[in-house]
């Protein structure tokens, strides 16, 4: 029977199918960070259970870490406690760990692919919803709660029922200045934040094939923002070229064997998807969000919606509430809206390709007066690569802060936060109320668009900045 890519990966990991259809699904990689693991380690300890496979587990600190000078101690006592707790736990259970002051440290979803830990065909989990990022490798990767983190620690499996299959086909090619982020915002704007619920979302079409691995990671990263359990891009030559030579990837003959298997990981041409969505790449503009849900997407040439034009009164109330929170007027052009902060970083957009795109805009320009602009590389290795290319100089000369790797202002668990009322052009993934700090106003956009807003002091069409 014809199978989708998801079906194939799923089938290859079913340990046992229980009578009601629940499957014991084998997990190849378990990624840990400091926020969602302490209670799971504690559970393991309390029940006297062992960590089943330390050699399939990796830990890194990212959510809480300061992105300022790493030689200084961590000031916030609770953050410090969480980091110290992870360090104690990895030592006790023998988990491979990228420590804070290592160049290999970074955001877990940047580190996994970068180190060759995340590979095609794998099942990959982490106590973090943006684990979907690793789907770009052609791996089935999804976020889990802490109880499931403990379940994987103890059993190397999860109890799961198969998801439904969704295919999102983006045909044709995007125009200049339009990035993977704009494609994904267009998709979320089209299907909504619950559009993918219960589905694994495979991205297909020429516009997807044309993306580099960083772009594919951006896409899969935000599949959770469309409600999907996971995102997937079938592995191809771009993927294999990316994987080859990475630290934990198979080498030599093993790599060839792996590749032979990975080449089978495509949806059969006659495979049937439960849901199909299509977009034309040529229609996609540089996009950004105006409201407090990632589905509130408009093009840079668009206007903020008017609650009066909503047919559903509940929706009208919600739109009004969002406008009030965001400090926007119905019908206002989004271009020209002034910003206070630009944040370039997060597991969505902090890879070297993202930093290059932002630097290309920043080069020879300067951050507008009154704007704080920060660049937070996704890992120590990304930071080093950027410095080797001189991107740090471009950013510094343009007045951007050049910081250490971590989740930073994506969720404001460390000192990088918005203050109430501040408006931010952010390359992150969630514009929820208070996400970047209580009262903060987030507009999601691409790295190039965030850099353009930083140097202009307001949202502008990056295509007009050549």
């Amino acid at each position: 029977m014809a199978r989708t890519l998801f079906d194939k990966i799923w089938d290859d990991h079913v340990v046992e199918r229980l009578p009601d259809g629940t499957c014991i699904l084998y997990i190849d990689r378990h990624l840990l960070h400091e926020v969602t693991s302490p209670q799971a380690f504690e559970g393991l300890r309390m029940s006297g259970r062992r960590l089943r496979r330390a050699d399939a587990t990796v830990a890194v600190v990212d959510h809480n870490v300061p992105t300022s000078d790493r030689s200084l101690p961590i000031e916030e006592p609770e953050s410090r406690l969480q980091i110290e707790t992870l360090e104690k736990n990895v030592a006790e259970f023998g988990v491979p760990y990228f420590k804070l002051r290592s160049k290999d440290q970074g955001i877990v979803h940047v580190v996994g692919p970068e180190q060759g830990i995340s590979l095609p065909g794998m099942t990959i989990v982490c106590g973090d919803s943006h684990t979907s990022t690793h789907g770009a490798m052609g791996a089935l990767a999804f976020g889990i709660g802490t109880s499931e983190v403990e379940h994987v620690m103890a059993t190397q499996t999860l109890l799961q029922k198969p998801a439904k299959n969704m295919r999102i086909t983006v045909s044709g090619h995007v125009g200049p200045g339009v990035t993977a982020k704009d494609i994904m915002l267009a998709i979320i704007g089209k299907i909504g934040t619950a559009g993918g619920t219960g589905h694994v979302m495979e991205f297909a079409g020429d516009a997807i094939r044309a993306l580099d691995m960083a772009g594919r990671m951006t896409l899969c990263n935000m599949s959770i923002e469309a409600g999907a359990r996971a995102g997937l891009v079938a592995p191809d030559e771009t993927t294999f070229a990316y994987v080859e030579g990475r630290r934990f990837a198979p080498k030599g003959e093993d790599f060839d064997k792996a590749c032979a298997y990975w080449r089978t990981l495509v949806s059969d041409s006659d495979a049937v998807f439960d849901t199909e969505v299509t977009l034309d790449a040529a229609d996609i503009k540089p996009n950004l969000t105006w409201g407090t849900s990632p589905e509130d997407v408009i093009g840079i040439d668009g206007v903020v919606p008017d609650p009066a034009s909503c047919n559903d009164p509940a929706r009208a109330r919600q739109v009004q509430r969002m406008l009030d929170y965001m400090g926007l007027e119905a019908g206002q052009k989004i271009a020209g809206t002034k910003i206070d902060v630009a944040f370039i970083g997060s597991c969505t957009n902090s890879r070297i390709e993202d930093l290059r795109a932002a630097a290309a805009v920043a080069k020879g320009r300067h951050v507008a007066p009154g704007v704080r602009a920060m660049v937070v590389p996704g890992s120590g290795n990304v930071k080093a690569a950027a410095e080797a290319e001189g991107l740090d100089l471009i950013f510094r000369e343009a007045g951007f802060e050049w910081r250490e790797a971590g989740c930073s202002m994506c969720l404001g668990m460390n000192p990088d936060k918005l203050t109430s009322g501040q408006r931010c052009a952010s390359t992150s993934n969630r514009n929820f109320e208070g996400r970047q700090g209580p009262g903060g106003r987030t507009h999601l956009c691409s790295p190039a668009m965030a850099a353009a807003a930083a140097v202009s002091g307001c949202f502008v069409d990056v295509r007009e900045m050549a």
């Binding site: 959510h63 109880s147 619950a194 969630r430 209580p438």
Partner: protein, 211 residues
Amino acid sequence: MMDKFTTLTAIAAPLPVENIDTDQIIPARFLKTIQRSGLGKNAFAAQRYNEDGSEKPDFVLNKEPFRKAEILITFENLGCGSSREHAPWALLDFGIRCVIAPSFADIFFNNCFKNGILPIRLPREICETLMEDAQMGANARITIDLENQVVQRPDGSTLPFEVDSFRKHMLIEGLDDIGQTLQHDSAIQSFEQKRQRDESWRPTIVMETVS
């Protein structure tokens, strides 16, 4: 370990909002704990408290009798966003044992079951009706009967709901998933052995514990 869930007769709090994300249920700044308990006081912090820490009197969970609510009723896509299990922990610590909505985000839905919270999907019109019931306050308790899979309204009428049979069993018995899975340990072992034999190219992560 987990409290059993059989029947629950309780006050329900109506929160007629769509897309309530887990950042709203428990903002990230409260995730710096290394425990599961104690999060209830900060559940819905941004909606419940002013910046000076005083309560916002209009928010449903700050009103009587909803301070004692054990059931929460909302609109579509409850629990979207972050996978943080701190969200169900916060609800549980507040006292919520059952959440009712037209739809849920997948990870949150799953996390509820793992903590003895029953998530129930019911059509929007029924959620609206139950919210009207709930508005009557302490005199209008709603009963959840998991064994028979019905919600009983204050007027005695009942509404059936669907629940996955495996998860129902786990809730009713208060069973621990890990213990259940470990009963299949030999199957996991043979899966691993077959992998090692047939797919020896699969890499493991071996490094000095600390890099």
